[in-house]
């Protein structure tokens, strides 16, 4: 049993795995952002609030309707996705044709409204939520104890990422989405129902946020402000990956989780800023991000 950099290898393996699990959250969240940024060219500042809505919907479905985790896994993204579509249809759509920065500002305002209202409605401490009984307990991997639930999180997140990647890069819809990003009017003149496409894309991106919220509900505090700080880190992840790049969001999400995890071992005080530091370095070397194309 030799030590690596002063830490027993078990610890290191354990931290790597945990980093990957956290990375899964970053990946799903930044993926949603990338989808929305891709088609609407909007940095969805409300993403954290919608992630929170996903977690609240999960807890709420149990408390008020007796619907358990697995039901929520389907329903919460649908509900929140529908809310997202309403937001797109009645608010964001009015911004078509004006500078995309206004989209950022609008969603920033929305985040304040949503989070503020939830503090009023549910208090700042939030609701309790436990993992589903099927995933209680865990397995001893030798180097660490892995709760089943964490294992499930990675699996679910990776599957979701791959599905999304396939849709966007390999299907006709994906081509529409990319074209719509650049010149929606022209795409519409070719006979594609761009307004519908936009609404669906936003709904999908938001549903991804809610999906991450469902995954998070059993492991973090389900509280109104749970997404407000997380979102900034996710923004940095998206920038590192290259904004709008689906693959970039996935790969960077996972690897930033790992890097952050390792920092927590070697230099815990820096773990809050390590991602921003990586971002700065990446930007110096590759201004368009790791997967972005320089234009």
């Amino acid at each position: 049993m030799t030590d690596l950099l002063g830490f027993p290898p078990q610890v290191l393996f354990g931290q790597l795995l945990l980093g990957l699990i956290n990375g899964a959250f970053y990946a799903v969240l930044s993926l949603g952002l990338a989808v929305i940024f891709g088609l609407l060219n909007i940095v969805n500042f409300a993403h954290g609030a919608l992630y929170m809505l996903g977690a609240f919907a999960t807890a709420g479905l149990t408390t008020y309707f007796g619907i358990g985790y697995w039901g929520a896994l389907i329903l919460a993204p649908l509900i929140v996705g529908a809310i997202g579509m309403l937001i797109e249809r009645f608010l964001l759509r009015r911004l078509s044709g004006v500078d995309h920065l206004y989209g950022l500002l609008l969603t920033f305002g929305l985040a304040l409204v949503i989070e503020g209202s939830f503090v009023k409605l549910f208090g700042s401490s939030g609701l309790p939520y436990a993992p589903p009984p099927q995933l209680m307990g865990g397995v001893n991997l030798g180097f660490m104890f892995l709760p089943w639930y964490r294992g499930w999180v990675v699996l679910a997140a990776v599957v979701m990422c791959l599905v999304t990647w396939y849709i966007f890069e390999k299907t006709k819809i994906g081509a529409y989405l990319r074209a719509g990003t650049e010149n929606p009017k022209l795409l519409q003149a070719f006979g594609v129902n761009v307004p519908l496409l936009t609404t669906l894309a936003y709904g999908y991106g938001v549903a991804l946020a809610a999906f991450a919220g469902v995954l998070a509900a059993p492991i973090t505090q389900v509280s109104p402000l749970m997404g407000s700080n997380l979102i900034i880190v996710v923004f940095a992840v998206v920038v590192i990956g290259g904004m709008g790049s689906i693959m970039g969001a996935i790969v960077t999400g996972l690897s930033m989780g790992v890097i952050e995890g390792l920092t927590k071992v070697f230099w815990p005080e820096a773990s809050a800023t390590v991602i921003f530091a990586v971002m700065a370095i990446v930007l110096v070397l590759r201004p368009a991000g790791l997967f972005g194309n320089a234009t």
Binding site: S124, P128, R150, I219, Q221, A272
Partner: protein
């Protein structure tokens, strides 16, 4: 004898942010209840209360406090959750010679290096929390500790205070991990704590951080594997949001619990009818501090700061919150604290039946002797 013919209390709290659950509007209600006990007048003058949401911003607090003092005839400030706010208001109170009744903030410096002659620290502080939880757990055999500490002043203060208590009681501190504030994921730190082999994992953090740490500890089977979690600053709403089945057995130090005796139950019931929630220690403490302030005015017939302050120090604090509490010259209100434990779900008889008191910590023990205070004006 009453300045401007009215006794006016300026209550400042976090009404919309993180602390709105433990303080916030509930604190305003509690203060109102104290005023109602006086029938709305004191020494022949009407009592008024003005409230403000400082949004956890020290500059808003300082601005409001100055404005209230300069132009709003406010005689005393109350509640003041969040240390930065309390410190900012202290600055104003010192310059304007107004009484500041701090209930929400936990920071020990308020009665040490940052103390002011007119600042009274009412409900609790980090030292009391440390003594209560730290010594109790060491006594039960939890003699080796590892801390998860929020990487900011409050977390460090808490860790320092508890470490001192643990070591004084014969325990050892094996180490600590500093986590960013706020942090959403604790699994990594929990793993480090697990690896340390300590018997007790002390959480030198608060609010969402504590909740997340406890949830993660539960998930990773920390308690099942024989380690104990010690929450150093936990409020009732936190326990509710962790969920009783996860939180059961968790020990914590509280200044107040609604279900302690007939008096607290009666008062809390009244509070519950107004707010739909049971009171927290901060809220009960706000009531107590305002009540005591009014009693002193009633007794002296004036709202002159120095006179009232002298009277407040002279009278014991005697109400449903504090029994025989005393006000020290460094501003500390010394009263009994309680070590509480979260009930098992099976023991619980209702939504709010969350804790049982396992030990009363005498005020002297919790807050230490005045001689230890570094307050220059004590």
């Amino acid at each position: 004898e009453i300045s401007d013919g009215v006794v006016k209390i300026g209550l400042m709290s976090d009404m919309s942010g993180t602390y709105s659950d433990v303080a916030g509007e509930g604190a305003a209600v509690a203060a109102q209840m104290a005023i109602e006990e006086f029938g709305g007048t004191v020494a022949g003058a009407p009592i008024e209360i003005v409230t403000a949401d400082h949004q956890n911003k020290a500059d808003i607090a300082a601005n409001k406090a100055r404005e209230w003092a300069d132009t709003g005839q406010v005689d005393a400030f109350a509640e003041l959750v969040t240390t930065s706010v309390a410190l900012a208001v202290f600055e104003v109170a010192k310059q304007q010679n107004k009484i500041a009744l701090v209930s929400g903030s936990a920071s020990s410096p308020l009665t040490n290096e940052a103390c002011i002659p007119t600042g009274l620290h009412w409900t609790y502080n980090t030292r009391a929390l440390a003594v209560g939880t730290g010594s109790a757990i060491v006594k039960e055999g939890g003699d080796s500790w590892y801390f998860l500490t929020a990487d900011y002043a409050f977390g460090e203060a808490l860790e320092r205070d508890v470490s001192a208590v643990v070591e004084a009681s014969g325990g050892t501190v094996l180490g600590s991990a500093k986590h960013p504030f706020p942090a959403s994921d604790f699994s990594s730190f929990i793993l480090q704590a697990q690896a340390s082999g300590a018997k007790v994992i002390g959480l030198a953090n608060a609010g969402a951080d504590t909740v997340n740490a406890i949830k993660a500890a539960n998930e990773f089977g920390v308690v099942a594997a024989g380690q104990k979690i010690a929450g150093l600053l936990v409020f009732m709403p936190n326990v509710k949001s962790i969920g009783q089945d996860v939180a059961q057995g968790l020990q914590m130090t509280v200044s107040f619990y609604w279900d302690m005796d007939d008096e607290t139950r009666a008062w809390s019931q009244k509070f519950y009818e107004k707010t739909g929630k049971m009171p927290t220690g901060i809220q009960a403490g706000t009531y107590s501090s305002v009540l005591h302030y009014l009693k002193a005015i009633e007794a002296t017939g004036t709202d002159d700061t120095d006179t009232v302050l002298a009277k407040m120090r002279e009278m014991p604090v005697e109400d449903m919150f504090a029994k025989g509490g005393t006000l020290r010259t460094d501003g500390r209100m010394v009263h009994d604290m309680y070590l509480a434990e979260v009930k098992k779900p099976s023991e619980s008889e209702g939504e709010w039946d969350l804790l049982k008191i396992v030990r009363t910590i005498p005020g002297e023990e919790a807050y230490g002797p005045l001689s230890e205070s570094t307050c220059p004006t004590k």
